[in-house]
């Protein structure tokens, strides 16, 4: 196997190398165009570029995805086949370094990425175009993302809390989408995060990743902890590679850096240096940046807990908190101004060790243990058989998933036309009143304060407001009531039907048990 000598103008499997964008220690990145440019759009010249791959300039005429017999994951059969027409230019080609003496982990990481990238999809990964085999010239071609990676923003750190939280929430949403595809990234760091023009974060570089159901080449063949010194999670240092919460630790380190301008554990290069984080807590962000609000410190330190079970339990939960600062329950973590003692940090680690079972759950199992459950109750007429039945259902769901969070929702109808100032005060009172009723309703559930949140949504259309909430907060399971017998339904229409039809998650429609002989109205089944 003799790799080709690549220079600008070289053509590999139908891609022409235009310019080398980046030369790293592991791989080179080339901007490429399709040689047969007949039907392909002209290459768009993006400003910047940096080390980021992947670009988003989707034309409106993007062809529909090809029909697939396996719905998902769906590997695109394009290895070495050259032209691919689905992904528009600009494209980038990643070429691993294969010279004698090059880092062997470069090849391994490249193999892993070549295996996994075609199996991933969605807006939070660069779109895969094709790859070349080791027989001739190994490469991966993918979309090129415009702009700079998140690392470029670090020059401005410390960032204001709102900006850091917004960036962090977008990265968390991207991570949640990857975790839902049963992938753990294992190398989350600012230089591996790009953004689409639409604002969505995109994770790049899957060389250390692991996907359920696929061989873990890194675990088998790397004899040192796999990760980046500044961001690697403690369990990763101990070579445990199955926990999506490892990515949350790295996300915490990224957030810490955005908020303070410093890395929480420095950038150790030795295993001994890496192990220090098992017993040495970082300096709390507020000690470095007094402008960091307590809620943000709570979130960041909650990601950086040494014991994964003490961290936030899913990326969706972190995204949720970053977007709802007023819903963060502040604990002692929020006010800490000095680092935790070595003893208490190490204790967390020992707890983890003691609990680690021989058979460890898959990424998908872990994710299903930490769902976000939302219950939409209507307490406008006070509590009812229905709201009580909903509470029972919520209690059952929480009992099944120890890592679950419960979001209690209530919709206050507001007129479609804006309110005047006089009503505003009244509206505010109504809002507070609704919140009080909501908390009172939830009290018998006895949920720890950090696992439950309350939201009064003000909107003219209850179903639309609940749907917005569900979509925006990665809700996994929505519990609504069937307003079967209420006279209101005749006037206002069903709320549950559009939710069942449109919510992007499981929906349970609760109906109190009917007495035999009581008049029944048509409607959906009890649980769907």
């Amino acid at each position: 196997m003799a790799p080709l000598v690549l220079t600008p103008g070289s053509v590999v499997d139908g891609y022409r190398l235009e310019e080398r964008l980046h030369q790293g220690s592991m791989a080179a990145l080339w901007r490429v165009t399709r040689v047969d440019a007949g039907q392909a759009p002209l290459p768009l010249r993006e400003r910047g570029g940096g080390e980021g791959c992947a670009g988003d300039s989707r034309p409106e005429t993007l062809p529909p995805p090809p029909a697939a017999t396996t719905p998902h994951p769906n590997p695109s059969p394009s290895r070495g086949e050259g032209l691919q027409s689905e992904v528009p230019e600009p494209l980038v080609m990643k070429v691993p370094l294969l010279r004698y003496g090059d880092d062997p982990t470069a090849i391994l990481g490249f193999e892993v990425e070549q295996m996994l990238l075609p199996l991933l999809d969605g807006p939070h990964v660069p779109r895969y175009v094709g790859s070349g085999d080791f027989e001739t010239q190994p490469y991966i071609v993918m979309e090129r993302l415009p702009g700079e990676p998140l690392s470029a923003v670090l020059a401005e750190a410390p960032l204001p809390a709102g900006r850091a939280a917004d960036l962090g929430a977008r990265v968390a949403a991207a991570l949640h989408d990857l975790h839902r595809q049963h992938l753990v990234h294992f190398d989350v760091k600012p230089s591996n995060v790009m953004f689409r023009p639409s604002g969505e974060a995109v994770l790049i570089d899957f060389g250390l990743s692991r996907l359920d159901g696929r061989p873990d080449l890194i675990a088998e063949e790397m004899h040192a902890p796999a990760g980046t010194g500044a961001y690697i999670a403690p369990e990763q240092v101990m070579r445990v590679r199955d926990d999506p919460r490892s990515d949350l630790f790295a996300l915490g380190a990224v957030l810490y850096e955005l908020v303070t301008g410093r890395m929480p554990f420095g950038s150790p290069q030795t295993v001994r240096g890496l192990r220090r984080r098992l017993y040495r807590a970082p300096v709390p962000p507020r000690a470095l940046n007094p402008d960091c609000p307590p809620w943000l410190q709570e979130i960041v330190l909650g990601c950086l807990e040494v014991d994964p079970a003490a961290r936030w339990q899913s990326a969706a939960q972190v995204a949720f908190l970053l977007k709802n600062p007023d819903q963060v329950t502040l604990t002692a973590r929020a006010e800490r101004t000095r680092r935790d003692s070595a003893v208490s940090v190490a204790r967390g680690w020992l707890r983890w060790l003691a609990r680690t079972p021989a058979v460890r759950p898959s990424v998908s199992e872990r994710l299903s243990r930490a769902p976000i459950i939302a219950v939409a109750v209507d307490l406008s007429e006070g509590e009812s058989d229905l709201s009580e039945a909903q509470r029972r259902t919520a209690g059952m769901l929480l009992g099944c998933a120890p890592g679950a969070r419960l979001a209690c929702l209530m919709v206050q109808r507001v007129p479609r036309i804006g309110m005047d100032i006089n009503v505003d005060k009244e509206g505010n009172n109504r809002h507070v009143g609704a919140l009080v009723r909501l908390k009172h309703w939830a009290r018998p559930l006895n949920v720890a304060p950090e696992r439950i949140t309350y939201h009064v949504l003000e909107a003219p259309d209850a179903a639309a407001a609940i749907l917005d909430y569900v979509r925006g907060n990665h809700v996994d399971h929505l519990v609504v009531g069937a307003r079967g017998h209420s006279a209101l339904r005749r006037y206002l229409g069903s709320v549950s039907s559009p939710l069942v039809a449109q919510a992007p998650c499981t929906v349970t429609v609760v109906r109190p048990a009917e007495r035999p002989g009581a008049a029944a109205e048509e409607g959906g089944p009890g649980t769907e």
Binding site: P75, R79, E111, M115, P118, L119, R214
Partner: protein, 247 residues
């Protein structure tokens, strides 16, 4: 081109029908039968006819140790149940069916793939690939990058980087695995007709040859009927129970 891989069919008509239907649904244009068409099960004639008909249309099949036992008599090493079923099977097969089995090759090479029943180093002596040492021995005995074999009834996937040891991986049903080009691979789809890992569903796999992606599958089938037929044929009752238990 998608290729369905069916190993160790073991005269189980219900399982073979289910796997062939599944393969068609998965878009497979071709089937390769990885040996042991007969033995243990109650429908040897039907299974041999089905494979014969498909081989006539361009599919491929290789010879297995139970096929040999049905023609030449059971080997010394076979268990009591296997011996009894080999003798029963021999009495069921017609002349053309026997001739078809006798004409099967020990291995077939096609592009990057080697198809063989037991192993690559000495296919006719039926040694098992039960672990990484045997997998490495087999991988190093062939020029082909991808070995597909049967004989062992539990699904397994082994891979080997250049000069490295073979590494075993437990496949997950329905999860496509790209067979990276720098490595050599040995895949055992598991048994169609007599699964032995505690799950009675039939095992098979589909290789997308163009993309180099292999997907293992578990296919549920009417194992109660297959087990009843084994019992009614007068074969050892243990062979019927195995189909119900998958073990």
């Amino acid at each position: 081109m998608r290729i369905a891989l069916l190993a160790d069919l073991h005269a189980n008509r219900e399982a073979v029908e289910a796997c062939l239907a599944h393969a068609a649904q998965a878009g497979a244009q071709r089937c390769v039968f990885l040996g042991d068409l007969v033995g243990y099960g109650a429908d040897p004639g039907w299974v041999v006819d089905a494979v014969m008909e498909r081989v006539g249309r361009g599919d491929a099949a290789v010879f297995g140790n139970h096929d040999e036992a049905a023609l030449l008599g059971p080997s010394e090493r076979m268990s009591g149940d296997a011996r009894a079923s080999a003798e029963w099977t021999a009495a069921q097969l017609t002349g053309p069916q026997r001739a078809f089995l006798a004409g099967l090759p020990l291995s077939v090479e096609d592009g990057p793939c080697l198809y063989v029943h037991a192993n690559a180093w000495d296919p006719g002596r039926w040694a098992y690939v039960r672990g990484t040492a045997e997998a490495r021995r087999s991988l190093e005995a062939t020029e082909r990058r991808i070995t597909l074999c049967g004989h062992v009834h539990q699904p397994a996937l082994y891979q080997q980087a250049p000069g490295g040891p073979a590494i075993r991986f437990e496949p997950t049903s329905g999860a496509p695995v790209p067979l990276g080009g720098r490595r050599r691979w040995l895949a055992i789809p598991g048994s169609v007709g007599q699964p032995r890992d505690g799950n009675p569903a039939a095992c098979c796999a589909v290789l997308d040859a163009a993309a180099g992606v292999l997907t293992f599958h578990r296919v549920p089938y009417d194992h109660e009927t297959a087990a009843d037929k084994v019992r009614r044929a007068g074969l050892p009752p243990r062979l019927a129970a195995r189909l119900r238990e998958g073990g």
